[in-house]
């Protein structure tokens, strides 16, 4: 009897030790050999970014010219004043605008500048006196009686980062300083909204992150017109000549680009890299047949049919083989001899004076009629030189629209100087930089959080070190960008936000993420079952048996005690 008991104990011990070996050695071994490599990701920081609190700080310097404040008031003028303006966009995103206003009185030189006869000259000489950094503004408050501005103009916005503000009528001398400041404050804010950022712009820039409630059709169209922010753009000018047998077209695109487009792009250089090329395409037809108006013997393209014009042409345009940046297409279409002249009509059946239209986020098309340049008896083919000044004027206007340089109408009482030869005022560039930085931050945070979510959900994806590194650098750049926005350093903020967007896209589109994407669990276990089932069943059974025996013995023991 004793021997059987010993035997039984030995058997139990053997079963237990085998189970122990399997659990201590086998399971970890299996686990380690089949696990996928997943590098560490800064998940907590990404979660913080998912909850985005952006603060935009703008520096404003308010300069009182002589005759706007009394000497006593002058002493009491506070040096700085900070105002916060908070908006909650949705549950994850909130915005805070901080306007840091500095007050001072004008220096002697500035007074001299302000005494110039015309606002434009004053603007220029003020600019020479001091150059304000990117993202900041200087507002000169001039007395109501000043002859610098015409009667109906209260605010003058210059070429650079300065504005002239006329003291309002109720603010005669003698009011208290508090009244004066509280009178100025909303007007300065108005100036700021025109010259640096307005809430509408910033929420539009956040559209990647925040689903906006659909507003009216007009504003949706406005917000969809400009290209998305991208580190680079390719600008392609194409001359479409459907009828090389009749027209031999010459366009001096090279010098036209140098003269008209390049200054604007040089100005925009901090925003993105631009590259320009041009081509000539022959035998390219529009997708629609223009209607013939026999009363005026012209051909017409209706507004409704313009949507169909682009597609067949686009098949010939060719994509850019050498880069993956978005392409802005500008097409100059010269109608063939049998379909000239061709005019575009708008919805009101009126001829469009520029004879051009643009397609949001795609480019612009201009129709250039050449039938006036030769008589009916001309010998074909006719050599025609294209007036590039006319063409480039249209394309430049379209380019400004497509790049998002807003020319939204200023509030009443504002006068905005027409843009100079560079095609872009400093404050317009600032405005663009504000909204592009915010847009980049919004896009990069969305990309990085959705990548983190995806990696979290699908455990099979291998995360290599280079991806982890990209993610970390994107997160760092994002944090820097947000911090710089907070500090009001617009240039750096844009720079960091661009880096963030590049790194996040590279991480998101890395091909190595796809390798083990689909490796379903049921198939994995189908492979394991032939090994696991015969090994585990005896172990489990003997463990069960040992357990039930142990329980029985305990019961017997308690019974015995009783």
């Amino acid at each position: 009897m004793a021997t059987t008991e010993v035997e039984r104990r030995r058997g139990q011990l053997a079963a237990l030790s085998i189970a122990a070996v399997v659990i201590i050695v086998g399971v970890p071994l299996w686990w380690r050999t089949t696990e996928t490599y997943r590098a560490w990701l800064p998940v907590s920081q990404i979660k913080e970014l998912a909850n985005l609190q952006l603060q935009l700080s703008a520096d404003v310097e308010v300069v009182f010219a002589r005759g706007t404040v009394t000497p006593e008031q002058q002493k009491k003028v506070p040096l700085t004043l900070t105002q916060d303006d908070e908006h909650v966009v949705d549950e994850d995103t909130s915005l805070r605008y901080r306007y840091e206003t500095k007050y001072r009185t004008a220096t002697v030189m500035e007074e001299d500048a302000l005494n110039q006869p015309a606002a434009a000259e004053a603007d220029l000489s003020l600019h020479r006196l001091s150059e304000s950094p990117c993202g900041s503004l200087v507002v000169y408050v001039i007395p109501e009686s000043s002859s610098l501005l015409p009667e109906d103009v209260n605010v003058y916005i210059g070429q650079q980062r300065t504005a002239l503000l006329r003291m309002g009528a109720p603010m005669r001398v003698g009011k208290t300083l508090e009244q004066l400041l509280s009178h100025l404050e909303p007007r300065i804010k108005q100036v700021l909204q025109v010259m640096s950022f307005s809430h509408n712009d910033i929420t539009a820039a956040l559209s990647d992150r925040v689903r906006l409630s659909p507003g009216n059709k007009e504003s949706v169209a406005d917000s969809m017109r400009a290209f998305k922010s991208s580190p680079g753009y390719e600008i392609t000018f194409s001359l479409l000549n459907p009828d090389p047998k009749s027209h031999r077209l010459h366009w001096d695109i090279e010098s036209a680009v140098q003269t008209y487009i390049q200054p604007l792009l040089t100005k925009l250089a901090p925003l993105a890299n631009f590259s320009i090329d041009s081509q000539t395409l022959y035998y390219t037809m529009l997708g629609v047949n223009p209607r013939f108006d026999s009363s005026r013997s012209i051909y017409m393209l209706n507004a409704d049919s313009l949507a169909h014009v682009i597609n067949p042409v686009e098949a010939r345009l060719g994509s850019n083989a050498a880069s993956s940046n978005p392409v802005l297409n500008f097409l100059l279409y010269v109608p063939d001899a049998h379909h000239s002249p061709l005019h575009i009509h708008d919805h009101k059946k009126q001829e469009v004076p520029s004879n051009a239209f643009h397609s949001p986020r795609w480019g612009g098309i201009m129709v250039y009629n050449v039938d006036g340049f030769y008589g009916p008896e001309a010998a074909f083919p006719v050599d025609i030189n294209i007036n590039m000044a006319k063409v480039m004027g249209v394309f430049l206007a379209q380019l400004r629209l497509l790049l998002g340089v807003q020319s939204s109408s200023p509030p009443p009482g504002f006068r905005v100087t027409p843009c100079s030869s560079a095609g872009l005022a400093d404050w317009e560039l600032d405005r663009l930089m504000w909204s592009r930085s915010v847009e980049n931050v919004a896009t990069a945070t969305t990309t990085i959080t959705s990548l983190a979510q995806l990696l979290d959900q699908i455990g099979n994806i291998v995360i290599n070190d280079n991806i982890a590194q990209q993610v970390s650098s994107a997160v760092t750049s994002l944090q820097m960008a947000v911090a710089e926005l907070e500090a009001g350093n617009l240039g750096f903020a844009l720079q960091y936000s661009k880096e963030a967007i590049l790194a996040s896209e590279r991480a998101f589109f890395d091909p190595s993420l796809l390798h083990l994407l689909y490796f379903p669990d049921d198939q994995k276990f189908a492979i394991y079952i032939p090994l696991f089932l015969p090994m585990c069943v005896p172990i489990l059974l003997s463990l069960l048996k040992i357990m039930s025996e142990a329980r029985q013995r305990r019961r017997e023991k308690t019974k015995k005690k009783d």
Partner: protein
């Protein structure tokens, strides 16, 4: 539980295509007026995808253009411009050469040539294109390409039946590129370039990687100007498996200034072109001299397309050809952008008009030396209105009068096959024929064999006329598994009127299961080029080899897993049983008789035994 098992015994291997360059000696300098090179490039611009965008998404708006530019009314100013029209810096020519072949087949060779006086070399950005296609120009300037040659071929050129082609090309896709010496990371640039070209031409050039790329040391010298011959900047790759079809032709046609709307390109209808025995399209880009002194350089883009129509499938056995019968189109005009637009018909074999008859007849004849051979051509100039006659359309008709006449055997040709049995070893035989009665030719042979055929280079033998023929130059680069292929280059003298045989033995490697192609039992193609040289220069390609590699049963991994697990489970089970069982001594059980007796005794109520 076992998946179906395919019992396949063999995996086939690709043999690399082989191209021979013949440099024959030369009576005449190769003054082939350009009409001999056919390279077809098709550039599929990715435009099709963009075209798919929903039309509805486009909202158009009339743009109010407040032009910053001054707009004077310049209609008058524009009109006077013809006087000041600048001389165009680019030039476009098109031509078609038709050669009736002795077999009754017909060979048509298109060439479109764009020459552009510009400089891609010195790093200045070229961005304004007129006749030169923008997509290729961007590729050249972005990747600092000095020369680019790409060809797509469907079918095999039968040298023995058809003679030498104007522009030889191996079956499948072939790409060779000379980079400028400013490129530092040639391999990286090459990889990127193949990916971009793959997009442009809708071809699987992205499968070009280090395992099928070689750097020939002596072959594939640059064809354009510039004496850089450092072969570090040369990359050569072939894809013998590539199937060429309409999707490669469409982007190729898009590169032409006139598209397929005017000129000779209207003949390029894919349903006819691909209903042929041989089709090859190519694109060649190289820098050339503008003039004799070579003061200015220009870039030459040659797009060539060669096609051979078969007597039996295309012509229903009738020995009569017309443009309409070949291309289902006739010609009505030249491309208005072309400075020259001509059709040549090779009438060399038909001096008295007794072989075939061409109508309408043309008084224009021209002579040219092609591949060391003086040929006579009838010329039709499409820029002259008179060519089209009264019907305003040109439909060339070639009618054979007799089916006799033997073709001269081509001077050089080559063939290749795999010998041996079983799936372990084999032997590659390359035969090079020199049919010239008294001349010997130096031949440069280039052979690129994939790594999975492990060549035993010590077994390399070169014999002609039963004697050992010692190559005067051998360059051999051994392969590395999964990294690079074998490269063998040899300079061999082919004695007159002889067959030279090059043999080398190889062993077939076992591939990893992910390295097999989707249809491994079809085999693997191996191509290889030979080259022969002399004062004029011929390149001859052999047919690609199709080699079987040992192919596993692809359901095997699961079967192996199951089998192994079962064995492990059985072994483990008995061990486990042995270890955990408790042994005890049991009374021996009573015998059968005793048990039966006991049962009976029990029934009787007697105590058991």
């Amino acid at each position: 539980m076992a998946a179906h098992r395919c019992s396949r015994s063999a995996v086939l291997l690709f043999l690399c295509a082989l191209s021979l360059f013949i440099v024959a000696d030369s009576q005449e300098t190769a003054s082939n007026g350009g009409q001999r090179d056919n390279n077809a490039v098709d550039s599929p611009q990715a435009a099709t995808e963009t075209a798919e965008r929903a039309v509805e998404e486009r909202r158009w708006e009339a743009s109010e253009a407040e032009a910053a530019a001054d707009r004077q009314d310049t209609s008058a100013a524009e009109n006077e411009l013809p006087a000041s029209v600048p001389r165009p810096k680019d030039d476009f020519q098109e031509e078609l050469v038709i050669r009736p072949l002795h077999s009754g087949d017909i060979y048509a060779s298109f060439q479109f040539r764009t020459v552009w006086e510009t400089d891609f070399m010195k790093g200045n950005k070229v961005s304004h294109y007129r006749l030169f296609p923008k997509s290729l120009g961007q590729v050249i300037s972005k990747f600092s390409v000095r020369e680019l040659h790409i060809s797509f071929t469907q079918g095999y050129w039968r040298t023995m039946r058809w003679g030498q082609p104007y522009q030889p090309s191996p079956p499948g896709a072939e790409l060779w590129v000379w980079f400028q010496d400013s490129v530092t990371d040639v391999d990286g640039t090459w990889k990127e370039l193949t990916n971009v070209l793959s997009g442009i031409f809708c071809a699987s050039l992205n499968f070009i990687d280090s395992t099928n790329t070689v750097q020939p040391s002596a072959s594939f010298k640059p064809l354009g100007i510039g004496n850089v011959t450092d072969h570090r900047f040369l990359r050569y790759a072939t894809l013998p498996r590539e199937i060429v079809c309409t999707e490669n032709l469409t982007p190729w046609k898009k590169l032409l200034p006139c598209g397929s709307k005017a000129g000779l390109a209207v003949l390029l209808k894919s349903e006819k072109l691909f209903h042929s025995t041989f089709h090859s399209q190519a694109v060649h880009i190289r820098p050339v001299c503008q003039d004799w002194e070579c003061k200015t350089t220009s870039w030459e883009l040659r797009q060539t397309l060669n096609v051979v129509f078969d007597l039996h499938t295309s012509a229903q056995g009738k020995r009569e050809w017309s443009l309409f019968k070949m291309f289902s189109r006739t010609l009505t005009e030249a491309c208005p952008l072309a400075s020259s637009s001509k059709i040549y018909i090779d009438v060399t074999d038909n001096p008295q008009g007794d072989q075939f008859e061409v109508s309408p007849a043309t008084p224009l004849l021209s002579q040219a030396v092609v591949l060391g051979d003086r040929r006579t051509f009838s010329v039709y100039d499409l820029t002259q209105q008179i060519t089209f006659g009264t019907v305003r359309s040109l439909n060339l008709l070639i009618r054979w009068k007799s089916s006799e006449g033997d073709m001269l055997r081509p001077l050089l040709h080559a063939e290749r096959y795999v010998a041996g049995y079983g799936l372990q070893t084999g032997e590659i035989h390359t035969l090079m024929y020199n049919n010239h009665p008294y001349r010997s030719f130096p031949v440069l042979l280039l052979d690129s064999v994939p790594w999975y055929l492990r060549l035993y280079i010590h077994t390399l033998t070169v014999t002609s006329k039963g004697k050992d023929n010692k190559p005067s130059y051998i360059h051999y680069q051994p392969s590395k598994d999964r990294v690079r292929p074998h490269l063998l280059e040899m300079l061999i003298q082919l004695p007159p009127n002889s067959v030279t045989e090059v043999t080398v033995q190889f062993e077939r490697a076992l591939l990893k299961w992910t390295e097999y192609t989707p249809d491994p039992n079809h085999g693997f193609y191996v191509g290889f080029p030979c080259k022969e040289e002399s004062s004029y220069f011929v390149r001859v390609y052999t047919e690609p080899l199709l080699v079987n590699l040992p192919t596993p049963d692809f359901s095997m991994p699961y079967n192996v897993i199951c089998l192994t697990c079962t064995v492990v489970a059985v072994g483990y089970g008995s061990l486990y049983n042995l270890l955990t069982r408790s042994f005890q001594i049991e009374e021996p059980s009573p015998g059968l008789a005793k048990r039966i007796a006991n049962i009976i005794r029990k029934m009787r109520g007697v105590p058991p035994l």
